[in-house]
Structure formats: structure tokens, C-alpha cells
């Protein structure tokens, strides 16, 4: 401090250096904190911690719901796809069975019609 005062004194005159040194001495003297300062610091720190914890909690809850929601949507889509495939396979099978059965019946009725025609012709003769 003296060295700085001397250097400033050398530059701006001794009187200015002394004044400045004195002013600094007054301003930079150790002072006791106001009453309750430490308590307020502790309170603020704990409040900050609580706020930070709450923010982190909200963030985790949001992450959880977004993840769970996405998972549910993926599973739903998967299940829908699976059901769609199963339904399509069943429908194709149903149509195949129906088509085949109709065709068999048609074949049988055609045979029966031909038999009836032959019989009629025989009777006519």
C-alpha cells in the first residue's frame, strides 16, 4: 500500500498520494458483517439448493413421462402392427378357404347337373 502511495505520490505529488492512501485505509478497514448476515447466507444457500433440487426433480419427472410416453407409443404401434398382420393373415386364409369351398361346391353341383342331363337324355331315348 505504501509502495503504491509512494509511486502515485511520485507521479501526482505527495499530498495526493497521502490522501489516497488514507482514503484506501479507511475504505479497506476490516468491518464486521451486519447482524444476521451469516444466517441470511445460510438461508439463501439452502433455498438455492432446494430450488435446484426441485428443478432437477421436475426435470427427472418430465424425462420419465416423456420416456414412458414414447415407450408406450412404440409398444402401441408395435402391437397395432402385429394385430394388423395377424388380421391380414387370417383374412387371406378365410378367403382362401371360402374360395376353395365355393369352388368345390360348384364342381359338385356341375357334376350333379351333368349326371341329371345324362339321365334325362337316357329317359328321352
Amino acid at each position: 500500500m505504501n509502495e503504491l502511495g509512494n509511486r502515485l505520490g511520485n507521479r501526482f505529488g505527495d499530498e495526493f498520494g497521502d490522501e489516497l492512501e488514507e482514503q484506501w485505509r479507511v475504505e479497506l478497514r476490516p468491518v464486521l458483517p451486519p447482524e444476521g448476515f451469516a444466517d441470511r447466507i445460510v438461508t439463501n444457500v439452502s433455498q438455492m439448493r432446494r430450488k435446484r433440487a426441485r428443478r432437477a426433480f421436475v426435470l427427472w419427472v418430465a424425462i420419465f413421462f416423456v420416456t414412458a410416453g414414447s415407450l408406450a407409443a412404440i409398444l402401441k404401434q408395435y402391437e397395432q402392427k402385429r394385430q394388423e398382420q395377424a388380421a391380414t393373415q387370417k383374412f387371406v386364409l378365410a378367403m382362401r378357404v371360402t374360395g376353395r369351398t365355393l369352388s368345390l361346391i360348384e364342381e359338385r353341383t356341375s357334376r350333379a347337373a351333368i349326371r341329371a342331363k345324362i339321365k334325362t337324355n337316357e329317359v328321352e331315348r
Binding site: F57, G69, K90, F91, L93, M95, V97, R100, S103
Partner: protein, 192 residues
């Protein structure tokens, strides 16, 4: 000091675990069942047809409701495959087929019980065939608009019995075309 710090943080962590558990529990019902079983068909026309499964080499059961038919229709239409339109026109598909290794595994009278259900009740017989070893019924029932809205086929051969019930807007031509697309032999539809 450390313990005190840990004790202070524990309630928050516990709360997080609880919220996660509750959230998960709430979401579980929304998660679809991965291996849901199809509801067995309970068509009154075919009630008791399970008896034909006895001694059958193969049995096929297909039950499709409107919802599943819509799904199948959408899937087929997306793939530009045949039958998509028909699937969407149908409301119900119930099929039971039983294949036997040798003739005489079922009684024809049992099949005829189901054919008799189609006498009356607004059913119109398109085909009715009776013989000692074969039996065939193709019946339609119209909707309010006069268009056929229901089709039932009961067919019995020495080694095969089939019960088919379709509901919805349909025609034999549509069915034949779609059946052909999926490997069934062609149906020779002739004008009467």
C-alpha cells in the same frame, strides 16, 4: 456432517422413486398387451361345431370382427394387394374347417343339424345338395336394402367339413375373385 447431508437428500430421492413408481403404475394400463389372444368366436349359427374337431387331422378356425377386418383391409390396401376393399366391406368372418385322414370320422346327421338352422329365418338357399356322403348349403340373407348382407356355407365331404359365415356387403363374384387371388380354384359363375 456427511450423514446429515445424506439424510437431507434422502426424502427427495424417495419422493422421486415414489413418483416414478406411481407414474409407471398409471401408465401400465395404457401399454397394450403384447400377446393378446383373440376372442374365440361365439357365432350362434356354429355353436357346438367344436365336436367336429374330435378325430380331425387338421382344424382351422378364423374369427374376424369388424375392427380386425378394417385392419386387414387397410393393410391390404396399403400393400395394394387384392381383397382390401372386400375386407373393409365385411363386418364379420367366422370360419371352421375340419379335415380328416379317413372318411367316416363324423356323422352326416351332425352336419345336417347346422344346415337345418338355415331353413327359414330369412335365409335363401342358392345351393342345397344332399347325399349320403356329401352335403352342401350356400345361403344368403338380405339386408334392409335387398342386397345380400350375410352368406353362410355349410359343406361336408367324406374327409372335410366346413362352416363359413360372412356378414357385410358381399357377392359370390367378389368372394370368388378374392379366393382365386389367394390360391383357391376359379369359380365358374354363370348367368342364370
Amino acid at each position: 456432517m456427511m450423514n446429515q447431508h445424506q439424510k437431507q437428500r434422502r426424502p427427495g430421492r424417495d419422493r422421486r422413486i415414489w413418483v416414478a413408481a406411481v407414474g409407471l403404475a398409471l401408465m401400465l394400463p395404457a401399454v397394450p398387451r403384447l400377446h393378446a389372444q383373440d376372442n374365440p368366436g361365439n357365432d350362434p349359427l356354429f355353436a357346438g361345431t367344436e365336436q367336429f374337431a374330435k378325430g380331425a387331422k387338421d382344424s382351422t378356425e378364423v374369427n374376424l370382427d369388424k375392427n380386425m377386418l378394417n385392419m386387414a383391409g387397410n393393410s391390404l390396401l396399403t400393400k395394394k394387394a387384392d381383397g382390401g376393399e372386400l375386407a373393409k366391406q365385411l363386418d364379420l368372418v367366422e370360419i371352421r374347417t375340419y379335415d380328416y385322414a379317413t372318411p367316416g370320422q363324423y356323422k352326416m346327421e351332425d352336419v345336417q343339424k347346422y344346415s337345418k338352422k338355415l331353413d327359414g329365418g330369412g335365409w335363401i338357399h342358392v345351393v342345397r345338395e344332399r347325399s349320403s356322403s356329401e352335403n352342401a348349403d350356400i345361403c344368403f340373407r338380405g339386408g334392409g336394402d335387398g342386397e345380400p348382407s350375410e352368406l353362410v356355407i355349410v359343406a361336408a365331404e367324406p374327409t372335410e367339413v366346413s362352416f363359413i359365415h360372412l356378414k357385410g356387403r358381399l357377392s359370390l363374384d367378389d368372394l370368388s375373385k378374392v379366393g382365386q387371388q389367394y390360391g383357391a380354384p376359379a369359380l365358374q359363375t354363370r348367368p342364370h
